[in-house]
């Protein structure tokens, strides 16, 4: 990361982004607007979403589901993960179910839960938790297993208090796994939330996406997607990734890897 390398890096990044928009514009010119709308009309639609007052009620509904789902799923994932990481028996007990849920298309879970619980918000939260918990649990279980056995043994030999062992040995070793789990769980949460809203929502970003889909309004559909996904990507990359980097700054080997 010398000062000379930076402008060139920017140039090539711009080449990528510019090329993408050129391709998009070209495709928009070659096809009717309802097939590929030009970037300009999508941008206009995005502005329209914010000025029409449709953004906040739908956005807040989705965020509520994501928030509740995340808290429940993350807590559940941590508890399950710790149990699984400590005991091979419980690992065997839960492993198949977690793996199956991982492989099970999220939409199937959504459809089944919707049929059983109806169209309310409890459906959304249940589906979100069901799909997100395995990602948390499996990552945390790996983290528990990655805890340095020798340091733990040493802490016990020197009679270090449990709370201090937790804070100084276990948590630092598990931190990367905790954060990875948080990122996975968050990403699953918002994806499932949109799925639920598309299948049987009455409000929310997914519901709006479905509405635009049904009236074949491509520009508006893309506008809703872009607005929401830019937001979620920002949360994932800027907030969660920043937290990861900061909490791992003391670890030399990881720092080298993120710098590359």
């Amino acid at each position: 990361m010398t000062s000379r390398a930076q402008p060139r890096e920017l140039v090539w990044r711009l080449v990528g982004v510019g090329g993408f928009f050129l391709l998009w514009q070209a495709a928009a010119l070659a096809t009717p607007d309802f097939v590929v709308p030009p970037p300009v009309s999508v941008a206009a639609e995005i502005v329209g979403i914010f000025t029409s007052g449709l953004f906040w009620p739908n956005f807040s509904r989705s965020m509520q589901t994501i928030g509740i789902g995340f808290i429940v799923a993350y807590t559940g994932g941590i508890v399950l993960g710790i149990i699984m990481g400590r005991s091979r028996w419980w690992d065997g007990f839960f492993r198949d179910w977690l793996n199956s849920t991982l492989m099970m298309p999220g939409l199937i879970v959504v459809v089944v839960v919707t049929m059983m619980l109806g169209l309310g918000q409890s459906t959304a939260v249940t589906a979100v938790v069901l799909t997100a918990v395995p990602y948390g649990a499996i990552n945390i279980a790996e983290g528990v297993r990655a805890a340095p056995r020798d340091l733990l043994d040493m802490a016990r030999a020197f009679r270090v208090a449990g709370a201090r062992t937790l804070r100084d040995v276990l948590l630092p070793a598990m931190a990367p796994f905790l954060f990875t789990a948080a990122r996975y769980v968050f990403s699953l949460c918002w994806q499932t939330t949109t799925l639920v809203e598309v299948v049987g929502g009455t409000r929310g970003i997914g519901f709006m996406m479905k509405r635009e889909f049904q009236i074949f309004d491509m520009a508006s559909f893309i506008a809703w997607c872009v607005t929401f996904f830019l937001f979620t990507i920002a949360v994932e990359r800027l907030v969660l990734q920043r937290l990861v980097d900061r909490s791992l700054a003391w670890r030399p080997e990881i720092e080298v890897r993120t710098a590359r």
């Binding site: 090539w12 065997g92 839960f94 179910w97 199956s100 492989m103 099970m104 199937i108 590359r260």
Partner: protein
């Protein structure tokens, strides 16, 4: 040592069986007690699944036909994604410029849910096979690209330099150094590609198709037959477990030369 190992494995097997048995019992006992018609009983689902297996079904396509349709689409979408993803990934791994230009798109591509692809392709191509195939392609291509690019960077440069120093032929170097270090990444790419391609495909079939395993779920959903939806979910589960077993076997075989991984897989 070996004895302890097999004992632990047996105990794990017991744990797995216990959890399966407990779930089935809970389902068997609890559901008939709750007076509801939206949660199917174990019997209803079992009968449904058995009927489907015997090809005695009310639906327009049998279990085997719809899974064959879906698997065919997955095969086409995934092979295309492998070709494109590995090519782009190699370019990204070899050239910093390409990497800089495309990195953002891979990151965004990784996070865009398949639902978006499914709905857009449905608007473009209608309810045929093209939409689902494209969705499977889009759902897996970003991960394959990223994984390949990571793999190329992971090739041990010191070994390559040594190979040059000792005048080892290029083909030998590629076969013995580049490929073995790329292989785990490729394998992860294919495995994850199958999983996410499969998920995307099912989403596309549910929203934007009139055939395939995903569409069958929607068919039973529209028919308000819960046992159909749950039964098909079970078929998906069985299929997923089967895939997992196959991948584990292949992985254990391919990576048997790696002591660390081999020990973990066993």
């Amino acid at each position: 040592m070996r004895r302890v190992h097999s004992w632990l494995r047996a105990r794990r097997g017991v744990a797995r069986l216990t959890s399966l048995a407990m779930l089935l019992t809970a389902w068997w006992v609890v559901v008939p007690l709750v007076d509801t018609n939206v949660v199917p009983t174990l019997g209803e689902v079992a009968v449904f699944m058995w009927d489907e297996i015997r090809m005695d079904t009310l639906a327009p396509a049998t279990l085997y036909q719809s899974f064959a349709t879906t698997l065919g689409r997955l095969a086409i979408g995934l092979s295309a994604a492998l070709v494109v993803g590995m090519t782009v990934g190699l370019l990204m791994g070899l050239s910093t410029r390409v990497h800089l230009a495309l990195e953002h798109f891979v990151v965004v591509g990784l996070s865009v849910p398949s639902l978006v692809y499914a709905l857009i392709t449905a608007m473009w191509f209608g309810f045929g096979s093209t939409g689902p195939i494209l969705t499977a392609f889009m759902a897996s291509v970003a991960f394959i690209t990223m994984s390949t690019a990571e793999g190329v960077k992971n090739v041990p440069t010191d070994l390559l330099e040594m190979a040059t120093a000792f005048n080892i032929r290029r083909s030998t170097a590629i076969r013995d150094i580049v490929l073995p270090s790329l292989l785990p990444f490729l394998f992860a790419a294919i495995r994850f590609g199958v999983a996410s391609g499969w998920r995307g495909l099912v989403i596309a079939e549910i929203f934007a198709s009139a055939s395939g395993a995903g569409w069958m779920v929607m068919y039973w959903y529209d028919a308000r037959r819960v046992q159909g939806v749950v039964g098909y979910a079970m078929f998906f589960l069985l299929f997923a477990l089967l895939l997992d077993v196959i991948f584990d076997k292949v992985s254990a075989h391919v990576f048997r030369w790696r002591p660390a991984l081999g020990a973990r897989a066993a």
